[in-house]
């Protein structure tokens, strides 16, 4: 069975599965895209952001 047929049978054949695929893919993409950009941002701005210098000023680490 060719790959396209597998994909068709798995995701596109039933509308309920198709809609669920779209929704969950959007959810997964949203999270991964945001975290990807965030990790790039943190890498690019290493040492400049508040979270990088916060440890110097927090006292007693909130017991």
């Amino acid at each position: 069975m060719p790959l396209s047929t597998t994909i068709y049978n798995t995701f596109f054949k039933r509308n309920s599965i198709y809609v669920a695929t779209v929704f969950s893919a959007a959810f997964a993409f949203g999270i991964s895209f945001d975290s990807g950009v965030q990790s790039f941002w943190d890498k690019w701005n290493q040492g400049k952001q508040w979270k990088d210098i916060r440890h110097k000023y927090v006292q007693d680490a909130e017991e």
């Binding site: 895209f33 945001d34 950009v37 965030q38 790039f40 941002w41 690019w44 701005n45 400049k48 952001q49 508040w50 990088d52 210098i53 916060r54 110097k56 000023y57 927090v58 006292q59």
Partner: protein
């Protein structure tokens, strides 16, 4: 291309026609004298000396009137000896840590800059639009911000007896102003109003570069420039004479992170702080911008692909014409 389509005879014919027209102009004029009488009147009007004289007079009069009204000739540029007092020296571009497309603010610098603002600038300049809570998570911890707010007394009320009372500050309170109102600020500064610094980076041409240049640019006035008593010379300030004296000197503040407090270091830090105060959304904005550019360029590429995909068959189709077969011949 054109000449290849036309025969040479056509050119020769056209040339001879033009020659004959110019040669026999008087005869054609006579021939159509009745039908072209109005154009003749118009021509004689255009060529008359009275028209020339009156138009010249009108033009000269208009220019004279304009010159009388505005003092300069119209449509003629004027050359002025340009002086920096017109707009001040333009600041150079400085490589700020936050000037790139992907660069966040340097928050350690914001923290130092707040210290400079608090110890130096806040004596005269207010910072109306920044509350203590805004510092939390940017340059100070909650506990530090709360402690700093509690050092300031704010008026609150009315209480049960209908009287206003003073209380220590809360995180939600805004930065205290050095003067109660504008008149008091002017009276305390020889008539000059120290501007509020909340949006000053946005409010000045050149932004952060300008303010940094201004703070570090105080020099003695050059020969021939008179500065009034109580004013100071700064080439970056429009007009050159600024009421604010130089305030940043090496070692004026003591940074708690051990950074040497040189004049330029303090100026850089306080300008970074003021830039944050003017654009507190700066870091989030740039991060959102990265996401938006990625997403929208992807969508744009997709739409281009879709367009080509859909139009491909239409653009590439070949329309064939099959002539009707001659049925009678069969």
């Amino acid at each position: 291309m054109l000449s290849s389509r036309l025969s040479t005879g056509a050119f020769r014919k056209a040339g001879s026609m033009a020659a004959s027209r110019s040669t026999f102009l008087p005869s054609t004029k006579v021939r159509f004298a009745s039908s072209s009488s109005s154009s003749n009147a118009f021509e004689s009007f255009m060529n008359s000396r009275a028209t020339l004289a009156s138009v010249s007079l009108f033009t000269a009069g208009t220019i004279a009137w304009y010159t009388h009204l505005y003092g300069t000739l119209p449509f003629l540029g004027e050359v002025h000896a340009s002086h920096l007092s017109d707009e001040g020296l333009h600041p150079p571009k400085y490589p700020w840590p936050h000037s790139g497309y992907f660069d966040s603010f340097d928050h350690a610098s914001i923290r130092r800059g707040y210290q400079v603002y608090r110890e130096v600038c806040a004596a005269c300049h207010s910072l109306d639009r920044i509350a203590w809570r805004n510092l939390v998570g940017v340059s100070h911890t909650v506990d530090e911000a709360r402690a700093m707010a509690e050092e300031v007394e704010y008026q609150d009320g009315p209480n049960d007896e209908g009287e206003m009372f003073m209380r220590p500050g809360k995180l939600a309170d805004y930065m205290p102003a050095p003067y109660p109102n504008e008149e008091a600020a002017r009276a305390g500064n020889a008539g000059a109003l120290p501007p509020d610094l909340s949006l000053i980076v946005k409010a000045r041409h050149g932004g952060a570069d300008y303010i940094f240049s201004l703070l570090t640019g105080y020099i003695d006035p050059p020969a021939g420039v008179e500065i009034r008593e109580g004013m100071n010379y700064n080439p970056f300030f429009p007009g050159g004479a600024i009421s604010m004296a130089r305030v940043l000197f090496d070692g004026l503040v003591e940074y708690d992170d051990g950074t040497p407090a040189t004049t330029s270091q303090m100026a850089k830090d306080v300008v970074t702080f003021l830039n944050w105060a003017a654009e507190p959304e700066h870091d989030e904005r740039k991060k959102t911008g990265i996401k938006a550019v990625i997403l929208f360029s992807t969508l744009f590429a997709l739409s281009l692909y879709t367009k080509r995909f859909k139009w491909g068959p239409i653009k590439n189709r070949k329309i064939l014409y099959n002539p009707p077969t001659d049925k009678t011949g069969h």
